[in-house]
Structures are given as structure tokens and as C-alpha cells.
Symmetry: D2
Subunit: 305 residues, 4 copies
């Protein structure tokens, strides 16, 4: 069976699952997205992109953006310097927990918990003259879509209600693990989370990671082999919130999820696959999206396990 046939079958079979998840209600602006949405895009290296359903509809990428800012931070200061400010191990605690942070004196366990991503945002602010432009430019280039923008309705909404993130940022600042103003870091963080992308854009972007750091759009090596490997390992061990073990078992691919319902996954050396469906499971990952990826790796025999 070819990939197009597989994802079309998945699209039909997934329909009953769409109503089972629940939308992230702590971000008011996300609350209005219809549960029935489902999109999926697949692209093999050196092949054209395939898609199904709402794959060309824009959604809020939320934490998927952490993968992009991690790439940028690695480009700017390198892994050795990054490691002084954030760990690279699974946390075992919820993504927004302060307990680990207090225990470890303000060093987040990894860049994909919120505290870690706030440190990444701080690094971008310190090492570029225009961190907003840097991020926007990067996601437009890596996805090949010049229309990508950050949705101010979402970022304003997250900024106004994101008290837990403000608590994390202030705590980091009290531990001297933020160089910039707390408000500046939070502003950049919600800007990146509020990026609106389509399945096809995200899929195209993560093909670079599948391609060991070489952009499939520009052909440029945007990450060293070693950096690509590091990010891939992080995604498998820390990319899907509290559900890392469950996701590794069911899907068996490195991936990064967001509470907007998107999940970017890929098979190193082979392909990139992105799903989007706004209903979430109890781990905060797209319920239908996880199911779709499980079917995809089972039917293609492509789980890494």
C-alpha cells in the first residue's frame, strides 16, 4: 500500500475518535477550534508531500515551536553552553512543574518543559538583535511558507492567562537563569507558541530533522549531524509531555506535540509525518493524532521498535 492510500484510510477510520478528546481550555483562544478538525501530511526524503483532510488549515503550533527555538539556540551558542542552563533528561514531572526547578536550583530538566523553553527564549533574546524576526524568518525558511505568522489573538490570550509560565519565568530569574526581563522572555515565548502553521508546513520543517539536519528546502545543513541526533534523541525521550513512554510504545517515533493538537513526528533518514486534531488525551497530546500515528507506523512497519 502506498502512503497516500494509507493516510486516506486513516482519515476515514479516525472519524469516531475526533469527538473523544477535549480542547485545552486553559488557553481561551484555543477553546473555539472545532473538535472535528483532522489533518495529516507525510513526506519522504526526495519525494513530494502527501496530505489528507485539514492538512492545509492553519493551527496554533504551541509547544512544537520548542523544537524550532532549540535548533536556533544550538546554532547561536552551541550545546556546551546550552547545557550550562538546561538539562537534557526526561523530567518525570508535569511540563509546568516548579518542583523539579526548585530542587535543581533553577536548571530545567530539558528544553521541552516550559521552564526549559523559557530559557531558550532568553538565549534568543540575548544573542540576536531581533529574536522575533529570527524565529519568524527561520520557520518560514525551514517550511518554505512565507505566509507563516504568529496569531496575536492567541499570544495575547496566553499572556493574559499564563500565570504558571509567569511563575516559572520569575523563578528562573530569581535563580539567575534568565538574562533578560521576565516580561520580554514571556512575550517572546507566547509569540513562538502562537505561530500558526499548517500540517504541510510542519511536516516540511521536520523533514530537515529526518534529513539529519540538512534542509530539504534550501539544501543547507542547518544543524550538524551531532546536533540533529541530539534533538532527535530529545524528542523521543522528552517530546510528548507526560506521555513519553506511552507515545514511544504506541507510535515508536521521535516527535514533538503541542496543546494546539499538532504532533510532528519523523523517521530519521526516511520521512516526516505531521498530524493535527485539536482534541487532547489526558497526557495533553492530540488523541486522534496519536491514534493516527500509531496506525501509520503499524501499517507501514515503520516504528523504530
Amino acid at each position: 500500500m502506498d502512503y497516500q492510500t494509507i493516510i486516506e484510510k486513516i482519515y476515514r477510520d479516525i472519524q469516531p475518535f475526533l469527538s473523544q478528546g477535549s480542547v485545552a481550555d486553559y488557553i481561551p483562544a484555543l477553546d473555539r477550534v472545532p473538535l472535528q478538525k483532522f489533518g495529516m501530511a507525510v513526506q519522504e526524503l526526495d519525494h513530494r508531500l502527501l496530505s489528507v483532510g485539514d492538512a492545509e488549515e492553519y493551527f496554533s503550533i504551541q509547544s512544537i515551536s520548542k523544537a524550532f527555538t532549540l535548533i536556533l539556540a544550538l546554532q547561536l551558542i552551541g550545546e556546551r553552553n546550552l547545557l550550562k542552563r538546561v538539562g537534557l533528561e526526561p523530567s518525570g514531572n508535569p511540563f509546568n512543574s516548579l518542583v523539579q526547578l526548585e530542587h535543581d536550583n533553577g536548571i530545567p530538566s530539558n528544553p521541552f518543559v516550559n521552564a526549559g523553553a523559557l530559557v531558550l527564549a532568553d538565549i534568543l533574546l540575548s544573542h540576536s538583535t531581533d529574536a522575533y524576526g529570527l524565529i519568524l524568518d527561520f520557520v518560514r525558511k525551514i517550511s518554505g511558507n512565507d505566509q507563516i505568522r504568529s496569531d496575536p489573538a492567541v499570544s495575547v490570550s496566553e499572556r493574559e492567562t499564563g500565570f504558571r509560565n509567569a511563575a516559572l519565568a520569575n523563578f528562573l530569574k530569581s535563580c539567575a537563569n534568565l538574562d533578560n526581563e521576565v516580561d520580554a522572555v514571556l512575550d517572546l515565548y507566547v509569540f513562538q507558541c502562537a505561530l500558526s502553521m499548517r500540517c504541510v508546513d510542519v511536516c516540511q520543517s521536520f523533514l530537515t530533522l529526518a534529513n539529519h539536519g540538512q534542509s530539504s528546502v534550501s539544501g543547507r545543513q542547518i544543524l550538524s549531524l551531532s546536533q540533529a541526533k541530539r534533538i532527535n534523541a530529545l524528542m523521543l525521550t522528552c517530546g510528548t509531555y507526560d506521555g513519553v513512554g506511552d507515545f514511544a510504545y504506541r507510535v515508536g517515533l521521535p516527535g514533538k506535540s503541542g496543546v494546539g493538537g499538532g504532533i510532528a513526528a519523523f523517521i530519521p533518514g526516511r520521512l516526516s509525518v505531521t498530524v493535527w486534531s485539536p482534541g487532547l488525551n489526558k497526557n495533553g497530546n492530540s488523541l486522534a493524532g496519536t491514534q493516527a500515528l500509531e496506525w501509520f507506523t503499524t501499517q507501514t512497519g515503520m516504528s523504530i521498535f
Copy 2:
């Protein structure tokens, strides 16, 4: 020996201890107070106030203010309502810890840890038209000193560097345990901490608690007997940061300390005694002040134990 003779002897004996403490360096504005300062004031019920040393010099009362806002909060909403938002038990954690708060879903263990005091500030903002005026008016009346004010240099300094408190306030807000804006709560909190009072003022104020809630200035019953007892019990079990056990043993009196170096203590039904010396011990309490109180209770035989 009469009290005046006792405190004069203490004043002589304490001199070598003054250089041993260290000033709280995390609040820049407090950093400049000379370590050699030492004041002490004692007042028995129905007697005139006695004092020694720098007892008429103004200092930053800091956490001593939590006793005042606790009285005000109890007056405004009563104990039953207060208990829905803050506990009344020792915390066993540092005064600015987030761990307990996360574990208990945003309910601080008691009103004297910073998170608890932030909740008190929120209550004052919600239940009075002018919380700033309410606090200022209250401390002026209970101390009988109309000149008391809050030092803007101190509050601005604390506001600019108080990231840990901002983390606590945002966390409380994320748990829906603050009704007002985070910034408004923090502003009021640093205002109360920055109140400048003299040993003689604080001593006079706490005489009301020693007097079971009846003001020795106005004769008014500002707290019920039961409320006074509650506050007294809280001071003994939670009033002196991590050093509650040590303070109870050495001094044996209920009391409330502040990182400005002040300690207000009292003997229910008998007297109020306040010391001030800016050098702190490892528990964050005035080093010389604790020693002076230990001598005072030993020499007068007045420890409750």
C-alpha cells in the same frame, strides 16, 4: 533587677555579637544599614515603655508586617473564610518555597510564609477601598505614631528584585488563589514590607497582642480573644522562618521576625518586647536580637517554658 537595668546590661553585653550577623543582601536597599545598630524596647501592660540603644531609629519592618495584615484580614473576613485560602500549620519548608504550594494546589501552609502573606494582601485589596490607607492607618493607630510611612526606596528595590515573590504570586494566581492582579498584589506586599518603624512603635503595637487583642493605645478591642489567641499560637509555631524550633527553645516566646533585623515578641498577659539589629543568623532572624531576647527571658524568668 528592674527591666531597665536588665536591658541596659543586655545592651552592653550584646556589643561583640553585632558584627557576627550578615545583612540580607537580596534586598539592595537594606544592604546599607550599619551592622552596629542595636535597639530594644520593653513595655509591660499598664506600665510605661522602656528602651535602650537605637530604639528610636526607624528600620524596615519587612515580615513583621505580616502580623499586621493578618490582624486586618481577620477583621475583614474572619477566620472561617481565611482558612479557605491559607493554612495555619508550620511549613517545614523555606519561607519562599514553591514546593509546598504546588503540592497543596496553591494553598500556602500559613500566613507567615511569603505565599500566605501574598494571599493576605489580596484579601485586603478585595475587601477595602484603599488597602494602602488601611494598612498605614492601622499601624499608625496601633503604634500611636502618626509619622509612620512606607519607604519607597525599599519597596521599589524589593519590587525590582523580588522575582521569587513574583513567582509565588503568579503561581497563586494560576491556582485561582488571588482575586486581584498579580502586580497589584505584589505592589501592596512590598509597600507593607517597606514600612519603617522604630522599636518603640513595634513594641507598642504588639502590646495589643500581649493584651489579648485590646489596644493599649485606644483601649479598643481590635481583635476577639479567640483571634488574639490564634495569632499568638501562629507566631510561636510559624513566626520565625526556618528557626521556629530554635527560637522557641532559646527565647520561648511567640514572636515575629523580619529580614530588616527586627523581632517583635511578647508574653501574653504581661509584656511586649522588641529588638532590632540588622545582622542576621542563618535562619534569617536577627542574630544579636535573638541573643538579646534569650538573655531577656532567662534573666527575667519569663520564658513560657
Copy 3:
């Protein structure tokens, strides 16, 4: 009103409260004690003992025994050495929690949490040839009752089901904070907890603490003034499990409770008062006992607050 009249009135008024508590069900042997039991004994310094109800019935003293082993440990090795192995501050965690212990590398926060009492038992085993005889001899002498013994049915029952205590002891051992075999420490610990005493015995024993360390039976100074003060401060800040703040407010006396339903309290320099009633409140303290003590201090005006 004289004390006898007061405690007789308390005995009448307390009846409706007796059925409200619940017996500690995790120690099977304690499960059979009738909820209706209530005894109370009061003794002023230099006066004869007064009592009411079941004050001459034997009950399992459980954690009240920690006060006795603390006195013995202080006599054997002194406070300086004791402090190397156990803290003297409230814990803010349940009495059998492992979290604090792991955080502090095996140093219990105080001698009245179970881990702390296990360290005391270890000290007694190391510094006496017959720790069992030492404890038994001590409680017989301090109470003046030669008939006191430990109930093997209770100690065997606690030993067989005390997995949490075994976890604590093994953890202490792994941190090198036990010198003796884990089993030997646990055996001694359940032996002391299973001591059967009467209200009149416990009341007589704690009169020594009220008497600043001088035994009212033998006239001997069994603790230094300083040690007595230390123990008294500990009882007020750590003596009644998670309910320290509540107990301090309601009763306002230093005291030590046990899950057998006994509470020993006293007023330094004045009197000792013991209650027993097996039904417990949510903090693990005798429900009727706490109420009776609250009435007693209110009616006699004897709260320290």
C-alpha cells in the same frame, strides 16, 4: 472553681464527643478499644493528683513514649551529639513521610516524627547494655508506678504491620544514620510504643517536665533546666503531628499525643494534665482529648497565649 470541679464538668460535657472520633485502624491491636473511654488527670506542682473517668485504666501510650526516649537520649549523649543525627524543627510533612528524609539525606526533622524516634531508639541501643530495661526502669521511676509494662500483643501487632516504619528504618540505615541492626531498632521502637500506662501515670511523669526537669517523685534533677526547656519547646512546635498549629491555638500548651488516644500536656512551672480517649481526629490526635484540654485551659485561664 477548683480543678476537681472543672474536670468533673468536662467529663460530663465531653460525652457527646466520644463517639465522633475514629480509632487508629492501622494498628490491629488498638482497634478493639471502646470509643466510650475517657480519662483525665491533673496535678499541680506540690499538690496531689486529681482525676476523673477512666484515668486509672491502662492504655497504649504510643508516640507519647517519644518524649521519654528523648529525655533518655539527651541524658546519654547530650544535645550537641543528638543534633548531629536529628533536627529540632517542625517538619510540615506527615509523621511517617519519607520525602523530607530523602531530601535531607537521612536526617529526620525532629525527634517526634517516626524517623526521629527510630534514631533515638538506635542511640539507646548503642549507649546502654539493656535499652529495654533502661526504658522500663525510667518510666516506672518517673511515674512512680512499678507495674508499668509493654504489651506484647500490641508490639507484635505493630511489628507485623509496621511496613512504613520498616521503610523509614531501612532508609535511615542506608544513610548511615542507624548504628544497630534495623530489626533491633524496630523491635525497641515497638516496645516503647506498646508501653501501657494510665492517665495518672503519664500525668505524674510529665509533671517532671512542668517542674523544669526535677522529678516530683524522687526529687532528682533528671534533666538540666536547659534540656527541659528544649523538650518543652519541641512539644509545643512538633508534639502533635500535623495538628501542631491547631493544637497550639485551641489548647495553647506544650504536649505530646499518641495514636492510642492519650495526650500529655503541661504548663511549665505549674501543672501537668493528661487526657485519654481513643477516638482520633483527622490529625491523629484524640478528638475528645483535644476538646477537653481546650476547655480546661479556657476555664482555668491557663493557655500560654
Copy 4:
């Protein structure tokens, strides 16, 4: 380059690394193994086993045994029942931490932390008439080596000094998550940890997992495809103690390490590779072993990332 050439080169290059690790000193019997030992074995599906160095020397497999008992527990009660007693997510805490266990009321985060493995041992005791025979028989069959036995010198040594494990077992028992006697569970646990195997044996055994659950010795399907996938995912996300993220990055293979210095890794569908060298890095994994595996996956291009 063929695999034999690659591992021979690794064997030469690894020599300077052998002296850099440190032997696990908390298990006295392991303390005597010479640091210079190094063995490595590789086997592709449907190929013969290749080896180098001390690959035929017996070593203590320690935590590698947890993979075997996990297979047995899955066979005995199935995943659904297993999940009631142990989680399947990374813990973020040290392998012997009690904090997570207390927070989650006695449910270990995964079967590879010590508490989780104790639950597995309990399951084996409950669901077989001879758990010792069951384990021994299983490892002999899956490895094809009838000579494998458990070293009593090691198990006795671990039993006598394993206070942390005894703390964990007692805690589990106090939470009703052990059905058998604490001592019986600990006895079986140290028996399995003390199994002595050679690199060639371990390599052969894990080929079954690489082979999606079908034994390469007997041809029998000893695990369902789904169970094999589950175990593989667990090894990648939880198999190497606190160093999961680091190991995933450097080696990029699912694997299980032991403090005896062994590491079993494999590439699903392709091959099994085992190394042994007793010197450990700070994460408790073989220092030279991790380096050898990193070289192996880099030189063969076989990292899953």
C-alpha cells in the same frame, strides 16, 4: 567494514577509557572486579555471534535482569494487569528514590526503577510455584546457556547491605503493592540481580527482543509483537537510569544497563549488541561500554536517529 573488524578496532581504541570509570562500591562483592575487563558481542538476526575481548567471561548482570523479569511478568499476567501496579513512564528521579513512590502512593513510575522491579519480583512469586526456577530456566533457554547461575556471594552481599531496596520494599508493602513477604521479595530480587552471564549470553538473549519477541534459539514466539514493542520502547525511555537522554543521544539504541558494567542494546529487526566493562560513569552506566556502543552505532550508521 564488517562487524568483526569494527568491534576489534573498538577493542583497541577503548583501552585508555577502561581506567576512567569507577566500580559500584555499594555492592561489596562487585568491588573486586578488575577495571581492565572489556568484552563485546554482536549478533545479527540469522547470523552467527561475533565477539571480542572478555566476551566469554561471566559478570553480574544486575539490573539487566529487570528486562528478563519484565518479560516473565508480562507472560504471566499481561500488560493490563501489570499496569495496575507499575507505570511505564520515565521517572526523572534516581533509580532508588522514594519521593516519586510516596507521591504516587506506592505505584513505581516504571519497571526499571528498583521499586518497579520489586513489584515484578512480587508478581513472579505470586504467579509461579518456583519463581527462582522460573527465572533461571528462562535465562538459560533464552540465552542457550545451561550453565548460567546466580552467584550467592553477590546476592548475600547485596541482601546484607541493600537497605535502600529494603526501604522501597517496605514502603511498597505499606501501600499494599506487594502481596508476598517483604523478605521473600527482596530475596528473589537479589537472586535475579546476582545472575552471572557472559556478553555472548546476554547478546543472544536480547536478540529475541530485536527479533520482535521470537526466540532465535528455540524459534518460539515468547512475546507478542505488541509486548516486544512495549519493552523496546521502555528500554529506550527508561533503560539506562538517570542517563536516558544522554544514552539515547550518544548511542541511539534501546538498551538496558546494570551496575555490574554490562549494557545490552539492540536494533529492532536487525541485531543485538552487548558490552561489558565494570567501570561506571556518573549515571551508573558502564563508561567504556557506553563509549564502545557510541562508536559502534556511529561506525555502522545504525543509530535509530
